[in-house]
Subunit: 474 residues, 4 copies
């Protein structure tokens, strides 16, 4: 369920290059708007204007912060944009992106999606050498490294910089009127490149290319750098060897938009497969049950596709038994925590007439703290549900993420303290079942290419020495 009890969204990035002049800021607006689900805390763009880079960013939604760019034309040839996720505290304008700096490599604008896992030690090292930090973003850190690099040439400095970084980064950058895009060698975060005519667009998800009428696109490969400039598009793999891949499977489970491709997978179809896998796991329970008395209900909107997959596999009816009020958004904030239940009910409300007397297979994407699920089970039972079976299209979340997801501390994760049966007892659900990790892996084409560290603690890149994780992402 996409709310404050959920995992925090990632950031999203976009880069646009046009061979001739085009209204780059307006195009950035549309692509960022398509990536709004990846971050609602802040939005920003940077673009070249007569040889200079100008930037504008602020706390707020794309449609608020960047509305000015829908008026009038701003001829430009290259630009980048960023949306940053929403947290409850710590919304600092200093952390909004892109970050633009002047340095000995020239003027650079940079936007980042990911999380540098060795940022703490790098920060200490840089600090020791006299760097100053105005923000807490890894983006600033990367720029410091780049400026300090003595390697020959800009690409040399870039390579040296990246060789220092561990963790997750999908970067877009303006330098010397070129657009650069880089994906870390593990490929934690998605990044796509597409073209239409003289226009090149790079973005976290394909939905941000589609909005530009771009249907001809490809994934930027883990470890790949793409440079888009007047001389065309150049690609280079920056890393030697074969680093272990670690694409974030939560992009497929929850973060990405269902009409996007990420990691060359259709998000919608992957979710349907997860739902089907959940249904297959319920064969014991479903056999011999009156299928007329059972319905599949998604927790909208993140559970929709999995619920459809579950229904199709199980043969049970799919019903939108919970209505989502789409007017609930950032502007509405409940005054007190005691009104948590009211807050949930303002957003999600049962359709009693379809719930009453039925067994409900309630499909959600994941359980974090479990507070919302408890309220939802209770709402459904008050509406007359005979029983509520809670089904999660992710395995139990037990470990921190060091690569860009803001997972609560281990002690707050319900699956570290309660077994599924205990969760059922606590929430009032008849049964609670998670998709097994192996079943989840079977839902994607290249299971070995994914990071599943939050489920089993097995990370493709070393976690920070002291085991703490950076609570933010860039």
């Amino acid at each position: 369920m996409d709310n404050q009890d959920a995992l925090k969204h990632h950031c999203g990035v976009v880069g646009i290059f046009s061979e001739g002049e085009a209204n780059i800021p307006e195009k950035l607006f549309y692509s960022l708007f398509s990536l709004q689900h990846r971050g609602q805390e802040s939005a920003g763009i940077a673009y070249n204007k007569q040889g200079r880079i100008v930037a504008y960013k602020d706390l707020g939604m794309v449609s608020e912060v960047l509305a000015r760019y829908l008026n009038g034309s701003r001829p430009s040839t290259v630009g980048i944009g960023h949306v940053r996720y929403s947290t409850q505290g710590g919304n600092r304008i200093e952390n909004a992106q892109p970050i633009c700096v002047a340095c000995n490599k020239g003027r650079i604008a940079l936007a980042h999606n990911g999380n540098i896992s060795n940022s703490e030690s790098l920060r200490e090292e840089l600090s020791r050498e006299g760097s100053i930090f105005q923000a807490t973003t890894d983006t600033e850190l990367i720029l410091h490294l780049l400026a300090r690099s003595q390697a020959a040439g800009f690409t040399g400095a870039l390579k040296e910089t990246l060789s220092r970084l561990q963790g997750a980064y999908s970067l877009v950058m303006i330098h010397n009127q070129n657009l650069l895009a880089i994906r870390d060698p593990h490929g934690f975060r998605p990044l796509y490149l597409g073209r239409r005519g003289s226009l090149t667009v790079i973005a976290s998800e394909t939905c941000a290319l589609e909005i530009q009428n771009i249907t001809d696109y490809r994934m930027i490969k883990p470890g790949e750098m793409v440079v888009v400039g007047k001389q065309g598009i150049k690609s280079e793999i920056l890393f030697d060897g074969e680093p272990r891949l670690g694409q974030c499977i939560f992009e497929l489970i929850y973060f990405a938009r269902p009409d996007s491709l990420v990691f060359d997978e259709s998000v919608y179809l992957a979710r349907k497969r997860m739902g089907a896998a959940l249904a297959r796991g319920d064969r014991d329970l479903l056999s011999g049950r009156d299928s007329g008395g059972c319905i599949v209900v998604p927790v909208p909107t993140s559970g929709n596709a999995a619920a459809i997959g579950y229904a199709q596999e199980s043969g049970l009816s799919f019903e939108q038994g919970l209505t989502r009020n789409h007017y609930v958004g950032r502007s509405f904030i409940m005054p007190t925590t005691t009104q948590r239940e009211l807050a949930v009910r303002m957003k999600l409300h049962p359709v009693k007439e379809i719930i009453r007397g039925r067994e409900i297979f309630l499909v959600d994407d994941s359980l974090v703290r479990g507070t919302t699920s408890k309220i939802l089970v209770s709402l459904l039972k008050e509406s007359g549900a005979k029983a509520v079976h809670l089904r999660l299209s992710s395995p139990e979340i037990k470990w921190p993420c060091y690569f860009g997801i803001d997972i609560p501390t281990r002690s707050e994760l319900i699956s570290n303290s309660l077994s599924p049966d205990e969760i059922a007892a606590t929430t009032g659900a008849a049964t609670v079942r998670f998709i097994p990790l192996e079943s989840l892996k079977a839902c994607v084409s290249l299971p070995q290419a994914y990071c599943t560290g939050c489920f089993n603690g097995d990370y493709p890149s070393p976690p920070p020495p002291n085991g703490t994780h950076n609570s933010g992402c860039d």
Copy 2:
């Protein structure tokens, strides 16, 4: 499809009475928030405060206009609220409601959902007699009539006033610290009454009662007046004879929230039945077709329930083949009409991987001008759909509405110039089918209790003499 090409939403009303003092404004906020889908142009409340009536209203959404009422307590015993629908022009603060007046009947606050069909002649008459009109709402008109009535007693004046009105009105009113609610004798617009402990809530839809934890409610009957005061609840049927009923069937097709009851029907189940009826009408076409190659896709979110009904009846798979971007809202306005297609694509985007190679049964609620449908069919075909069959859960709209829906002029209605086959040819759909009126009627318990004037020109209350219709609603 819920957009600018759609029928305009109605208004919504709410009234709350508490035996002891309660934070009435806050409660009004929550109920109005639940009715936000009925009107986004303006919001307002009025409530008693130490014997006086205070009011606050403005252009904007509930969460913006009324946010102040979430802070602090405002003890009161009675209040009413209103949301008004969104139009592109003519948003005048003067038309926001409730309207509060002082007159010889005391202080009155009134909010109205509906449309008085003889307002023009009443306005002329009142004007002749020296009334002044500051707004163009029927609400002001009703108050003029009430103030001018010489009938004995407030109820007498009210009866005399209502006897002059033709058309649709669901009213809530504060007078003399009582809460009054009245529904016109045809029952055009819905109105529900519920209680929990010392709290009485009246609202257009039951979702606005449920948010107050009220599950014990009943429909206010056509022609009924309810007075809620310190002496309890009194009910009276104000009209003699048996006026022809004319409940607006579009409330079920499109306007109301799926988790609401209106006219004692579950909106969700009624819509599912409409979808099923559409599927039955397609038996000719479906028999012998490869059901694996056909999918049912709703135009979200208004087509969802009908599409589920269609899928269940037909046995075809239900798929969310169009993703809705929920960040598209009032704040985002496209600068030019030539970007109409872009505007649609920013809001609704195909999930190509499920569309490709399939025949799509696209389920929407109604066709008004048909411009959006044309774009959607085109988007689906570009995404690889083999064919698109457009299915509408309302019959062809051919006539104006004089009772509260803002239907374009007859010449703008696509069904007045094109047959379904011609619409198919124009939009690129393989086939276009509307639910037949008789099938639609079979989806509700009391078919004879509904107005179907916009389909067949048969109105339960006389249309205005000159045939023009009031473009607004209250």
Copy 3:
């Protein structure tokens, strides 16, 4: 002193007519901006646009509410505007002006400066006859009377309406594409008419004509109606007999801008004469005093001109011993009343170096409750003043105003409970002296043409029967 302890400002009105089309809304902006000192609560305009009257008004300052009218051209031929004064409570959008209505006399927009003293009985009568009141302004009342009048012709109805009104009114009106302006027969509030080329402007003060480059103007006479239309300008005296004149002398003392003419008097020169009269009254005290040790300090900015007059007459040095912080405005509101002293000090601060060791003749316009004066005397003494002599350019205020000034209740007026000597004792001033009423009268050309009711209770028009006064003005 112009602050919350002061008398409340009046409203201001403006009307503009152009023979050909002109950007009337923009012109209204500039004139209203010049009248901003007459009202900061709300601002609004109405103007004709292709035969219709459109209006826009809101709570707030001219530069906020009407900023939209500085962009683009809105061709029109006639318009009116209004600013309403600021009160601490009761800012209701419903009371903003102009008020535009449709009635049997056609469409009318009306704006009013003044106060109808028999409004209560008129309201009762109208209410009895079935009128409804949405606001508490006299403007609505006047429109009710006008609509109900059966007299022949619009002018006839207007005359009948005005014959019912007692009290103060300077009106501007749009009717039938004409601009009308009317001043009550006592002439309580100022109103000027000027022309330049094809442009006619009517406004409360000449500063609003000067900003239109109009230097050829005349006072509209008490009881005069001016109609400006395509046929030119027609003038008519609407009232028979010779009503007693009652021009508000506080316009000269405090309300009007120093660069304006009102009542054919220069505000600046009248204030200088008041200051000089105060100085003459101090001859006893000044003779034999060391003039080097005494300085004249105004309470800025309302006391400036009188202080200059005092200094010139007395031969003492004029010094700006109190600095006014011009960034103190509406946006800055102190959180608690205990910080009253801080609030005063943020706005007015002594120039210690000129105060220290001096006797200060502190010149202010009037004493209402006296709270601010007490703080100022204390601030000056802390800054080293040897003594503070408080001089007021108005006599003691002891009576209510029924004609447009918002004077506190009699018991709150310091001069009803304390003599000047007692005020001196309370505030810490060495002496406190008010200008004698006869001296004040000697400062204007036609003393008998003024109302001095707030000083001596002698009103040119009967006060309301029950003696209560309307706390607002229009």
Copy 4:
């Protein structure tokens, strides 16, 4: 005249330390509000909160940006604040101050008033060594130097840093929960230190101490560093030798508030002396003139004190012949430059009745481009002035400033192209006279302690090698 034709205001700084916890942010608000005249572009504060430094800053006025700090208590012991001047372009949030960084010296918040004249070469050097620049302020530059310093101890690093800086800087800083304040060895910008009980306040002008009820204060000396901490207040002169003093005489002429002390001079009295000096320079002209026909009129409000001084010295009458409309502020921006005259007239308007038939001695602080003066002379003559004598309380401005004033390029300065007589001919003034530099110097106690570079090109600190000047200030 304080408008867009004037010299740009400086920035202002404030620092507050409390021995026990106090509501530091609220106190910063009040002091910054008192310094609002020194900068209207942006406002910001930083303060310690449980060991951390939190900051908030934005574009806008103190009352807008910092209003939040008037609600609730935020216990803290140390804080700093900054207001930045207003320019027409280049308002970048990145340049708002204070700047807070984490570095190897710990966490530091810094705010700066002044201009580093060798910033360009320092920036090049730092850039070469790998520093990145996110803003164009000198403040960021100073922090880079500080972080990179290898000198022993924080004070050592600070001294090394300052030894690299040329130009003007009055700094306030939070470090290690101490408040530091430093004034450059030339003393270009003012800085005062005061105490009351456990509270220490440091600010650009004494008005910001007075608002805290602090009357016991002293100037921080050129080259002095003050450290305020739990151990009390320590002072140290950081520079050897006796650097040439260069206090900015324009602080006295125009920038500072008249109720402030800067450089141990009363601003008000200094301005009066300048006016008196101008009057003495006019003896030739005044002798034999009819003093009744001549009046002294200030251009409000910056010319007020000098005009009073002129009037007292000459014996002519002081009159406020130009009324200033105090509602003209940031919110009102004229749409087109052709409306320049209208813009001036909206702000300043003649009192015709006092102007007519008189010779006007119009006293302003300085002439920059001369455009406004031309309009004012014309306005006065249209109002009937027999002649207008323009008097300036500064000498002719002919040279750039490298130390914190935003003076237009030399070619834009009217005094570089026109002699006083030519200016008279251009503006329509009868005569134009500037205060001679020697007379100006005679108005202050320590003439040799001032920089008069903008008048004669004689700078106390070397200008940048290429002679260009930084257009901004910090």
